[in-house]
């Protein structure tokens, strides 16, 4: 592996009250790497992703994103600033898209650059249009989100995250809320991003995608990382019995 990971999570714990949802998680993501996190529902994979940009507050451990380190439990202005900078370096795509319904597609995409980065509107529009083009939705730039299909909404959400020009893209089950026939268009966009060298950390139930696109697969169960390796090794010779069960169910057609 390379020397300098872009994301490094070490010794991460998360409790929701008494519930220990993440237990001593340590993972790394290298620049230009695509890492898929798989596991059954409730295994803690979404929580892990949400801890990386602090939508969930880690209970213990350390998060490093592009040389910025935040330790759990620290408070104060300096810490808040670090979290803010980490959020600028990470783009997030949500299961439920979370597009801003009161703004047009293009306004959704340029909102971050204009209000957060204080970019000139003309420049932001240029970047916004380029990213809408990347997801193949430039023609929809003046529509409102409620006029788009689920797959189109998710592609706009991807463009919105890309427009902030993050170092890493985080995907939180990006196709789980979609009708089956709309999943393909989103996965195709993600594949294209991967081919362009985008660093991606993807929580997913799409085993086919993980197998085909990921450089590395992280398997989680009961709040722990139980296995991580290249997809071929995870899918062809899983070591942990829980991974074996997960892969087995995928092969027998019940991907979820």
């Amino acid at each position: 592996m390379n020397a300098e990971p872009i994301i490094q999570v070490s010794g991460l714990h998360k409790w929701f009250g008494m519930l220990h949802v993440l237990s001593d998680i340590t993972i790394e993501v290298q620049p230009r790497e695509v890492v898929c996190i798989i596991g059954r529902s409730g295994s803690g994979k979404s929580t892990l992703l949400r801890c990386i940009n602090f939508l969930e507050e880690p209970s213990a451990g350390k998060i490093m994103v592009d040389k910025l380190v935040v330790e759990a439990g620290k408070k104060g202005r300096a810490n808040r600033k670090l979290i803010h900078e980490i959020r600028l370096k990470t783009g997030m795509v949500f299961q439920e898209f979370n597009l801003f319904p009161h703004m047009s597609v293009l306004d959704n995409v340029i909102e971050g650059p204009v209000t957060v980065k204080r970019m000139e509107r003309a420049k932001a529009v240029e970047i916004g249009m380029m990213n809408l083009d990347r997801v193949g939705l430039l023609v929809k730039k003046d529509e409102f989100p409620n006029r788009l299909s689920g797959g189109q909404k998710q592609r706009v959400a991807i463009a919105r995250a890309l427009a902030m020009e993050p170092k890493v893209m985080l995907f939180d089950e990006p196709t789980s809320a979609l009708d089956p026939e709309l999943i393909g268009e989103v996965l195709n966009v993600m594949k294209k991003l991967a081919q362009e060298g985008t660093t991606m950390l993807v929580v997913t139930h799409e085993m086919g995608f993980a197998r085909e696109v990921a450089d590395r697969v992280v398997v989680m169960a009961e709040g722990e990382v139980i296995e991580q390796a290249e997809p071929a090794s995870v899918f062809n010779s899983p070591r942990d019995p829980r991974t074996q069960a997960l892969i087995e169910r995928y092969r027998s057609g019940g991907a979820k």
Partner: protein, 261 residues
């Protein structure tokens, strides 16, 4: 048998002749301006109280709770009297007349507006909070993931969407506000009802005069209902959502009527 004085009645329901009496003309102007200012103050205070109530910090939550508890739990007329007479006699604040160019704003109008606005804020707090809570938390998360601060996310993402939920009850609050300004009569602020009271003190025609007074309030609330219907139709159109109650329904079902606070 009572002799209904048509001459007085007609003089006071017909605006051009009624407005020759400065008590009525100025009273109407004061009522409208005080309503707008007090409502605006109420919206601002309500916004802060709502955010306070939803704050992670206990001190803000308590301050908001106490504010809402007191101002919703005591009569407005008491709050207003306490503010004007109580603060005056203790010299906490004497409410001196403020001069804005050629306009003099009496202490009573200042105190009345303040009391109305602060009282209204306690009611607006619940309305604003309900509006904010109606917005999917995913919106705030998406905004934060783009690097927005809480304040920016509120301003750009959450409040513009919450406005759609807040504006209809806000309209009803304003309707109520225009009527409630009449309580300022207890501190002798020169609003519309005070004007009619003063005329009545001079000529003693309470039946004719107070019918006339009620017609002016009816005029104000009816005009506002029309404006409100337009605003809400605009909101619905833009978002493609269902319309609020229609004009006739709004006028005759007493939407927003809440009685004395």
């Amino acid at each position: 048998m009572y002799h209904f004085d048509w001459a007085i009645f007609l003089k006071y329901i017909w605006p051009p002749s009624a407005f020759q009496d400065p008590l009525i003309r100025n009273g109407l102007i004061v009522t409208v301006i005080v309503s707008v200012v007090a409502q605006a103050l109420g919206v601002i205070l309500g916004l802060f109280a709502a955010l306070g109530k939803m704050s992670k910090l206990a001190i803000f939550r308590w301050l908001s709770e106490i504010y809402i508890w007191y101002f919703r739990g005591t009569p407005l007329i008491v709050q207003m009297s306490l503010l004007f007479f109580g603060f005056g006699v203790t010299h906490i604040y004497d409410f001196p007349t403020i001069f804005l160019g050629v306009v003099a704003i009496s202490g009573a109008i200042q105190a009345g507006t303040l009391a109305l606005g602060i009282n209204e804020g306690a009611y607006m707090a619940e309305i604003v909070r309900a509006g904010i809570e109606s917005i999917d938390p995913g919106q705030m998360e998406a905004a934060k993931s783009l690097g927005m601060t809480f304040g920016l996310a509120m301003q750009r993402i959450v409040l513009p969407q919450a406005a759609k939920v807040i504006i209809p009850p806000l309209g009803n609050e304003f309707n109520n506000m225009m009527k409630t300004t009449s309580l300022m009569v207890v501190i002798s602020a020169g609003e519309l009802f005070y004007g009619f009271e003063q005329v009545n003190a001079r000529i003693f025609k309470p039946f004719e005069l107070f019918i006339a007074a009620s017609l002016y309030y009816l005029l104000l609330t009816t005009i506002w209902s029309l404006i409100q219907a337009r605003i809400e139709a605009g909101l619905g159109e833009r978002k493609g959502t269902t319309k609020g109650p229609g004009m006739m329904q709004r006028l005759f079902t007493g939407a927003g009527g809440k009685g004395v606070r």
